[in-house]
């Protein structure tokens, strides 16, 4: 049972609270004055809905809070609410996200700026509550913006940024905010809670404008188009996704100006990369053991760095390729699998290799893939040390397998 720990600040005073990643996102929903929220239970994302329910029950948050009868309905309800002009929030985890798949498919196609939290969870079977990234990654081709966050503070801030970007008329696409199950959804940290005034300054009201479904604007949404027009309509979604990086940059710049918190490059975070020989790349809370291991390795004289990818969709290919080409070897740590993919690698490694295959850079470092931390298994400091060791050997020209599993019981 989730207990609220955050005291919401009065207007004008920022406060600090010890809260989980899930609670941070619930607080962001309240600050964003979300209109319609749909809940359905599945661990670990559902803690966010427990916090939302408390806020509503205590009269601190005015929204329609609807408990649906399944994830498909959960996502369909907010999809239609958003078409009628409401700011919406929902979420899921693991197979719950998969159960909503049809709704997830049509949401970006309809240009619905839905914000969904994905409490990343291993897909069934066998049952496991722990984190894997395969759930959120399944929508990577459909027009969802996908972002992975690392801390509760980043979860709160990114939720506000996600509304700002998604609801921009140039974009109108949904955004999934991935929070690693347990490691982030259920772990408390000190979080600065912005004031309502700051949020109001940063986040304009959602304006569905010419696409509003209302008797004053009698449009027909999503008619049967067939081969006559489907390509042109897909192309509009392509163009919207193409505009996202620019809008993300604007939003982060405004965020820094209004809230005073800096995220640097919005798309990925670099840690100890300035003089690094090799880097380890990954998403989400994998950064924790990686940072610790990097500090240890550096004390031993090994120049290892980390690149933590935040925005997976749109994938920051050009910038990332430019960054990674500086190093002698790159290790991508995937908390996911893609059976039968090129070199049997994980999704992030496969996309990273694709990003590097470009003529805008001349140097192509070897990219080794490490699959680990599946089903919520911890990626340990010795795991990261082993990866660094492999990367150094690859940098020296030693032949290495394209994909290795780490932390696997023999």
């Amino acid at each position: 049972m989730a207990q609220m720990t955050a005291t919401l600040p009065e207007r004008g005073t920022e406060e600090t609270a010890l809260i989980t990643g899930s609670e941070a996102i619930a607080v962001a929903c309240k600050l964003a004055d979300v209109d319609v929220i749909t809940a359905y239970p599945i661990r670990p994302y559902d803690t966010v809905m427990q916090y939302v329910a408390k806020l509503v029950a205590n009269g601190e948050f005015d929204c329609e809070y609807i408990v649906a009868e399944g994830e498909h309905s959960q996502f369909e309800i907010v999809k239609h609410a958003s078409a009628c002009g409401a700011r919406v929030f929902t979420g899921s985890s693991g197979v719950g996200w998969m159960y909503a798949m049809e709704a997830l498919t049509v949401t970006p196609a309809l240009r619905i700026p839905m914000i969904a939290m994905v409490g990343n969870r291993a897909l069934d079977d066998p049952g496991a509550f722990g984190v894997e990234h395969n759930d959120a990654l399944t929508v990577r081709d459909l027009g969802w913006m996908l972002v992975w966050v690392d801390t509760a503070q980043e979860a709160l801030d990114t939720a506000l940024i996600a509304y700002r970007v998604a609801e921009d008329r140039r974009i109108f696409l949904p955004c999934g905010i991935s929070c690693d199950g347990a490691f982030l959804t259920h772990s408390q940290a000190m979080v600065k809670i912005p004031t309502q005034d700051q949020v109001n300054k940063f986040l304009p009201r959602y304006n569905r404008a010419d696409l509003l479904l209302h008797p004053d604007n009698p449009i027909t949404v999503a008619p049967q188009a067939n081969e006559d027009w489907v390509m042109e309509i897909r192309r509009q979604n392509y163009a919207a996704m193409e505009r996202v990086p620019g809008v993300i940059r604007e939003a982060y710049a405004d965020f820094e100006r209004i809230f005073g918190r800096k995220y640097g490059n919005p798309f990925f975070e670099e840690y100890e990369t300035a003089d690094a020989d090799v880097v380890i790349m990954g998403m989400g809370t994998l950064s924790m053991p990686t940072r610790v291991a990097i500090r240890k390795l550096r004390s031993e004289g090994k120049k290892v760095g980390m690149v933590r990818l935040r925005w997976f969709r749109p994938f920051p290919a050009e910038e990332l390729a430019k960054c990674l080409s500086r190093f002698k070897a790159v290790g991508v740590l995937d908390r996911d699998f893609s059976f039968g993919s090129p070199y049997m690698s994980g999704v992030v490694a496969t996309e990273t290799r694709a990003a590097l295959y470009t003529d805008t850079i001349s140097k192509h470092p070897p990219v080794l893939n490490f699959i680990g931390g599946l089903g919520g298994r911890e990626v340990t400091v010795p795991d990261v040390e082993k990866i660094a060791h492999e990367l150094y050997e690859a940098a020296e020209g030693k032949k290495k397998p394209a994909t290795q599993w780490i932390g696997l019981r023999e």
Binding site: S73, E76, H80, A81, S82, A86, R205, P215, P223
Partner: protein, 344 residues
């Protein structure tokens, strides 16, 4: 009906019944541009439904004939705002739209006014795939919306495949009569409206209609929208393509469905059951049910029926009228525990 103090109800539009065919407004909100078949009764249902509702209405349509044939890109037939919803999502669509209006009007983000929300589905979308979502949505007393199920008794848009609402024995592309099996589809039609009325005690209005009795059907829709909360209307629609008959007898077949007693017309308004039209006359003994043969033999989908098949069909309809606790509504047999319902 007692209402919980925690339920927040918004005003609905005042929609008095049309007092005769001549009082029906001339304005059309479902007009040209659609490509439905000649004699399509479901298209008539769309036209009557939105005429009954009026211009301040949002319509959400699940996948099915009334999506694919009605909303060709660039030639939509809808004058009111219309949005596609997924096959199994009519319940969720109605709920989501109604919740959005409620929240925004309460918070001052949208002008306060009663707006009708209608989500429609076919029998595939309503009686099969979307039943769970419809059921869930009918338990939400705070939101005003109507779910209309237009039942042409098959997945008619995808080539006439059987649904849970297809009558016993009907020839569909998934149930063709063959050399070994004359009757491939031996399931009896689902009792959708009765199930929804019985299963959702907070739902204020459930009705069955047939647009061969257009005025009655339109007034049921008006009542469903005015009464507030989530409501459900189930319409039986003859389908020339799926039922295999000459389009000019669509209207007659709708009448026969009712006069043979196969499709009872009724409404459940605030827990009060009322039989309507010819169905009421049958129940009161003022009208003798026509033999089902007259209905079945006019349709190609039953052309393979032998006398035994017709007799079986007739016996099932007789059973419904003679043995059900409430004919057409509650299929528990009266004579199991005596003739009276157990309540006082």
């Amino acid at each position: 009906m007692a209402i919980s103090p925690f339920v927040e109800i918004d005003a609905t539009q005042k929609l008095d019944p049309f007092k005769g065919v001549k009082k029906i407004p001339l304005e059309e909100y479902f007009t040209s541009g659609h490509r439905t078949c000649q004699g399509c009764e479901s298209a008539l249902v769309m036209k009557m439904m939105v005429k009954a509702a009026g211009p301040r209405t949002i319509v959400l349509g699940s996948t099915g004939c009334m999506y694919v044939a009605n909303t060709t890109y660039y030639s939509t037939s809808w004058v009111v705002p219309w949005m596609h919803t997924q096959l199994g999502s009519s319940g969720s669509a109605g709920l989501g739209a109604a919740a959005a209006l409620k929240a925004q009007m309460r918070k001052g983000k949208m002008k306060k006014e009663p707006i009708n929300v209608i989500a429609f589905c076919g029998d595939g979308g309503g009686a099969d795939m979307g039943l769970g979502a419809i059921s869930a949505s009918l338990t939400h007393p705070d939101y005003n919306f109507l779910i209309l199920l237009y039942d042409n008794e098959s997945y008619a848009n995808t080539d006439i495949q059987l649904s849970g609402s297809t009558p016993y024995g009907a020839h569909t592309t998934f149930s063709p009569p063959g050399k070994m099996k004359r009757i491939m589809h031996h399931r009896w039609k689902k009792n959708t409206a009765g199930m929804l009325a019985a299963g959702h005690p907070e739902c204020k209005y459930v009705a069955t209609v047939c647009m061969s009795y257009g005025l009655l059907g339109m007034n049921c829709i008006r009542k469903a929208l005015e009464i507030g909360g989530p409501t459900f209307v189930h319409s039986l629609d003859p389908c020339p393509k799926g039922w295999d008959y000459d389009p000019y007898i669509s209207h007659e077949l709708g009448e026969l469905a009712v006069t043979t007693g196969i499709w009872p017309l009724y409404e459940v308004e605030n827990h009060t059951l009322r039989l309507l039209g010819k169905t009421k006359e049958i129940a009161e003994g003022r009208y003798v049910r026509q033999p089902v043969r007259d209905y079945l033999m006019k349709q190609g989908r039953f052309a393979h029926f032998t006398k035994d098949d017709i007799d079986y069909f007739q016996s099932k309809v007789d059973e419904m009228w003679q043995k059900w606790l409430i004919p057409g509504v509650i299929p528990m047999m009266k004579d199991v525990e005596g003739d009276k319902p157990p309540a006082e």
